[in-house]
């Protein structure tokens, strides 16, 4: 999944680079031609069209939202999928971001620590991801923009066989991407 996140960033950077490329083309347009334009506001700051500016603004908005959404994970007690007060607050913030940022999809990953057994942990990971999903739906996030996956104990965030590691591994991760 990390690879996917990196891939998403690469795509984003590529899009921005393309947008930059377009601006150069516009900038190379003779000044007279611009002056001879209709003056209807179709060219804006730096020679970008309004649409391009809007797309750039949206892409930046999305990039920031994707970063913020991924930054805060939520954590669980052993063999539990209950959302803590802190988790609810984190999810509330994410819901606001998701609602205020158009064009985002969200993949919620449920993870477990190594202590449980593999198959039951896949079920528990599903319950953890679903707990966040259902909370976000309640907060008004469009359910069709979200999906969940359980990885059980397969991708620990922290290596180690102690409570410090386990408590960081019983988690939901949030991978947003622009559609």
């Amino acid at each position: 999944m990390k690879k996917l996140g990196v891939f998403g960033l690469i795509v984003l950077v590529f899009c921005l680079a393309m947008a930059g490329g377009c601006s150069k083309k516009v900038a190379s347009t003779p000044a007279g031609a611009t002056a001879a334009g209709s003056g209807d506001g179709s060219y804006g700051q730096g020679g970008l069209t309004a649409e391009q500016l809007e797309a750039q603004r949206l892409a930046e908005l999305q990039r920031q939202a994707i970063e913020k959404i991924a930054a805060d994970r939520i954590y669980f007690a052993f063999d539990s999928n209950e959302l803590s007060q802190e988790s609810r607050q984190i999810l509330t913030d994410k819901a606001e971001l998701l609602k205020s940022t158009p064009g985002l999809n969200l993949l919620i990953e449920g993870h477990c620590d190594e202590r449980g057994t593999n198959e039951y942990n896949l079920a528990l990971g599903e319950r953890r991801a679903r707990a966040a999903y259902e909370f976000l739906v309640l907060m008004g996030v469009d359910s069709s923009k979200m999906s969940i996956i359980s990885y059980g104990e397969e991708y620990p965030a922290v290596q180690g066989s102690n409570e410090a590691a386990w408590s960081k591994n019983r988690r939901d991760e949030f991978k947003a991407s622009a559609n």
Binding site: E119, L122, R127
Partner: protein, 439 residues
């Protein structure tokens, strides 16, 4: 693989006495306890007692002796004797009675003696006659001849002879005719592998970009189901052993957990279509069929007995994960694991009388065995590390499981009696989730 081997197996002319005669040695592996017999595998001899063993190319005679020794060491009812244990030296003096000096083996408390007699074979490795004698009576327990074309056939010869020996003594030789699929960690990926129960014929089954989990064999040992986690989805995979083809299916819902074949050959699997993992039976086209168990809680890890009537599974309907048994005929569900707060990964014995599962004790898992007839529950494995993913052998005697008792997870073997676990060598890399199937 076996069919491809051009082994010429022939019953020796020496007639074996009826195996189940009143005073014939036998080992009850299913009873409450089991007797142990002392086994000695003699050094290989030349059949004509003139020609040197060196006429056999390669190291086949010695390798065969070592393989038979290693195979028998997997069987907890054998106590393996070494050459130093034999009073007057290990040379049997001959490979067939009456030329064998049985007295010194009797004095050395050997119960079973295995002899090997080789003759060179032009264009091949040689021909070998293997015999197992009951030392006390001199009775021939097993006598078989094998024509060995290549050195690569030696492990197969050893496995076949040991299967016959085990069958003659216990009535059951499937241990050497079965195999184990398991999950092996390779970097960030996990792949499916398989090998014999002694760790031979190691084969890589999958090469997928992701995590393979929960392999499970069909009852005829021809199909292997498992779940593959890719970067976005869970997929059901079914591998056909004959054609070596892999089918990969997306199913409804987000989460696919722990497939298992029913007696009729369909796949049972947990799906979260209703927002909660429940166990469904799939139709032959992998569309979702009837639910086998539905509850408000998590229901995962089904396993079926040979009759197909009993299904064990894990549910957290009582607040913590516990093992339950469902009678698929009557629909009755009853709790199996009665102690502790975390009991998972059940496997039901083929005869449907016992369930082995992982029980969490002080943060690690140990194997427990529940007897469905008496209702008694007892601990099977002890020591350090965590013991998980138990699976019954097709003969209902052995139990394979994964354990971290020596560091990274590896596959071990114990029995329904809780015999000292033996490592099944599976090469470098963590190995887990064994699934036992027929060869």
């Amino acid at each position: 693989m076996i069919r491809k081997l051009s082994l010429l197996v022939m019953l020796l002319c020496v007639a074996a006495a009826p195996v189940w005669g009143a005073d014939v040695m036998s080992i009850d592996i299913y009873g409450p306890g089991q007797s142990r017999v002392n086994l000695f595998v003699a050094d290989p001899l030349s059949k004509d007692s003139v020609g040197p063993l060196g006429a056999i190319p390669g190291n086949a005679p010695l390798e065969l002796q070592q393989r038979i020794n290693a195979n028998c060491a997997f069987l907890p009812f054998f106590n393996m004797l070494g050459g130093r244990d034999i009073v007057g030296g290990p040379n049997p003096g001959g490979y067939v009675t009456p030329s064998i000096d049985l007295k010194k083996f009797q004095l050395s408390r050997a119960d079973v003696l295995v002899t090997a007699a080789w003759t060179p074979r032009p264009g091949g490795v040689g021909e070998v006659e293997l015999r197992a004698y009951e030392v006390y009576t001199g009775r021939l327990i097993v006598g078989k001849g094998y024509s060995v074309s290549t050195n690569q056939q030696v492990p197969e010869v050893a496995a076949r002879f040991c299967a016959d020996l085990m069958e003659a003594l216990t009535g059951q030789g499937d241990f050497f005719r079965s195999n184990i699929a398991f999950v092996k960690k390779e970097g960030n990926r996990k792949q499916i592998y398989m090998c014999t129960a002694q760790g031979l014929n190691l084969q890589k089954v999958t090469n997928l970009d992701g995590i393979c989990v929960s392999p499970s064999w069909s009852h005829d040992g021809q199909k292997l189901a498992f779940v593959f986690l890719d970067k976005q989805h869970h997929n059901l995979c079914v591998w056909d052993r004959q054609s070596r083809s892999l089918e990969k299916k997306r199913l409804p819902g987000n989460t696919l957990i722990a497939p298992a074949f029913t007696r009729s050959g369909s796949v049972a699997i947990s799906l979260d279509m209703s927002g909660n993992p429940e166990i469904y039976e799939l139709k032959p086209d992998f569309s979702v069929g009837r639910p086998l168990e539905q509850n408000w809680g998590i229901d995962v890890s089904p396993d079926f007995d040979r009759s197909g009537q009993k299904m064990v599974f894990v549910s957290n309907r009582l607040g913590n994960p516990h093992v339950f048994l469902k009678n698929l005929g009557s629909g009755e569900v009853k709790r199996v694991s009665m102690t502790g707060k975390y009991n998972t990964g059940p496997s039901i014995s083929p005869d449907g009388t016992q369930v082995v599962f992982a029980h969490m004790v002080n943060g690690v898992h140990k194997l427990f065995l529940a007897d469905l007839i008496s209702g008694q529950e007892r601990q099977l494995t002890f020591g350090g590390g965590s013991d998980e993913d138990p699976t019954w052998s097709p003969d209902g005697y052995f139990i394979a499981f994964s354990s971290s008792r020596s560091g990274p997870k590896q596959i071990y073997l114990t029995t329904k009696h809780g015999d000292e676990p033996i490592l099944i060598p599976t090469g470098p890399g963590e190995a887990s989730s064994p699934a036992w199937g027929k060869l």
